[in-house]
Symmetry: C2
Subunit: 357 residues, 2 copies
């Protein structure tokens, strides 16, 4: 089944209004949530609407947050998001980064007391759309074991870096620091499919291809998968993200990061408030003329896209797969699994809203 982006947005917006978001916040949140569906990252889009609603019911998500900013330097700020949904706090944080960067060259914002913000790429992209370099990161539910560890201490902790170009659309790296994003595991769990070796480990740390081991004490593995293929590097990146987003902002970090699913209990003796994000933006014209930089980026993009492919595969640059899907889905609609549609219809019923479809 395919649906238009507008349909996804209108429905989500009604849900957010119903639980107490202002009209303006509902519209903005819906647009940011469904950008994931448009860009083909189905696990982070409207399929999670029910999850956010459950967080609200568990009193972990504040529909009318009162943002508190602190800033001791014109280039640095920290935002207490007051249990906001992550979309609103992340969006405000990147806006602030952009503002600081436009005035002072660079802006850095850490956010605490927040919730999940969907796809990191869209916040980094906001900066690139203003011809700035943008970065966005977040920590997330602890599902990942460090190299040589049995414990789940890190989230899939994504890193996004976006860079503008002249005639090419922006470079947008948006990657989990694990081998596989959790969304891919969720799909395998639903289908009873097997995961490739290197994605997950059992509770005792040994390898498994059974995605259900994740719910039986197992863990995701960091990018690199195996020590001999450099999994300590994926672990190190996930760790750096946890520190910049969690330790620096005053949010929780490591095993204390609140899980996205509301049925799991919060950790004891929390070390901070909510989950944490980190954003950075800087001007390219601090280094050379903006037009020169943008032209150089075009050369970079074309060089990589035109490189010799192995077999019939095409060589892409980070962001290309999402741009391709964004074009396709803008035209032909967004495909949703029937289980997701059913879920949305149940949610509509519970909230007394018109059915999704």
């Amino acid at each position: 089944m395919k649906f238009s982006l507008t349909h996804l947005q209108s429905f989500s917006s009604l849900v957010f209004e119903k639980i107490g978001f202002s009209k303006e916040d509902s519209i903005l949140t819906s647009a940011l949530l469904t950008r994931a569906d448009l860009r083909g990252i189905d696990s982070h889009g409207i399929a999670r609407l029910k999850g956010y609603y459950d967080l609200f019911k568990a009193d972990r998500l504040n529909p009318k947050p009162n943002f508190k900013w602190q800033s001791k330097f014109p280039t640095l700020a920290v935002l207490d998001a007051d249990k906001s949904i992550g979309f609103l706090s992340a969006n405000a944080a990147m806006d602030r980064c952009i503002e600081m960067a436009q005035i002072n060259g660079v802006g850095v914002v850490a956010v605490k007391n927040s919730n999940h913000f969907g796809i990191a790429g869209q916040y980094a992209l906001k900066a690139a759309e203003k011809n700035l370099v943008g970065m966005a990161m977040t920590n997330a539910s602890p599902l990942v074991a460090p190299t040589f560890s049995r414990d789940k201490l890190l989230g899939t902790n994504p890193i996004s870096i976006a860079v503008p170009a002249l005639s090419s659309r922006p470079f947008v790296l948006d990657m989990a620091t694990t081998t596989a994003a959790n969304g891919k595991l969720e799909i395998l769990q639903r289908k009873n499919g097997l995961a490739p070796d290197g994605w997950i480990q059992k509770e005792d740390g040994s390898l498994t291809s059974n995605p259900n081991e994740l719910k039986a004490g197992g863990a995701l593995r960091p990018l690199g998968s195996f020590p001999y293929l450099g999994s300590h590097k994926g672990y190190g990146l996930g760790a750096a993200v946890d520190i910049l987003t969690g330790v620096l902002s005053g949010a929780n970090f490591g095993p204390w990061v609140p899980p996205f699913v509301s049925f799991l209990p919060l950790a004891e003796n929390m070390v901070g408030e909510g989950i944490g994000h980190f954003f950075l933006a800087f001007r390219v014209d601090g280094f050379m003329e903006e037009s020169e930089f943008l032209k150089r980026m075009d050369v970079w993009m074309e060089t990589f896209r035109n490189s010799t492919a192995i077999g019939k595969d095409a060589v892409l640059v980070p962001g290309d797969p999402e741009w391709i899907l964004e074009d396709e889905r803008s035209k032909f609609g967004i495909p949703l699994l029937s289980t997701v549609v059913d879920d949305l219809n149940r949610l509509a019923k519970e909230l007394g809203l018109p059915a999704f479809s």
Copy 2:
């Protein structure tokens, strides 16, 4: 054979003076070069001294560089390193970042027209030693093929992030964005050893375990190794490093980055000057009290170090392996391969210096 750090430094310093470095620059360069030997990254230390000398002979390394700075914002600067050895330009660039960060909260410096700078970690660490968060990156000789590509378009492009703690020594992530650093391949080539599947590919893009394929048109693979294990992420990280260090600074990028080995020709129609670096530092007290941040970092470090290990392995945090070696080698000396010692003795003879040993 083991040697003291002082011995390595004195010898290197004599070599640099002999080719025209000032006394002060010789001492500083030697200290930065041999820090790699001390920290156990043998491929980046004194074993490369001859390589730098060869770059000098090929007129690609200027012993008396005249640094030219440009800065349009109090937080951003670009350095034209005038063909300097990378150690001196990287060190000056990070000093400038620290200075800008101390005054304005954050500092970003891009460097062009430079050469290789050894290990990225020590520049990031300079910031952490001042209780700042530090980052360092560089592009390097094109040896790495993007996912699905046969062409060598990226270097091993390392990323380093260092973060201070209170009683624990700093967190220091210092990683190539490839599965294996080139130094590890060089060791296998010398020994005629085999590489694990996933480290390298042949000229046609197919897998190989023969490290000599690298010299026959083959390439290193990005972190992740295989598309199904997320090699597009390692590629994306290496790409982001190339853009921040090369495109942004005005240096070369992609296939145009000058090779470290002086016997390889430079690319035609270069797109910039020399190789490029990128540095960033920011204050942690822009987000919370410095003492609180440092205490939180101690909690982070202890939580990860004390996690349940698989079997008898210990769970480490990024930087621990290097700190362990730094302690050991400070006490007991630095082991060098006899081939490296022979190489240094030949260099001494060529320059009319006392033998290394």
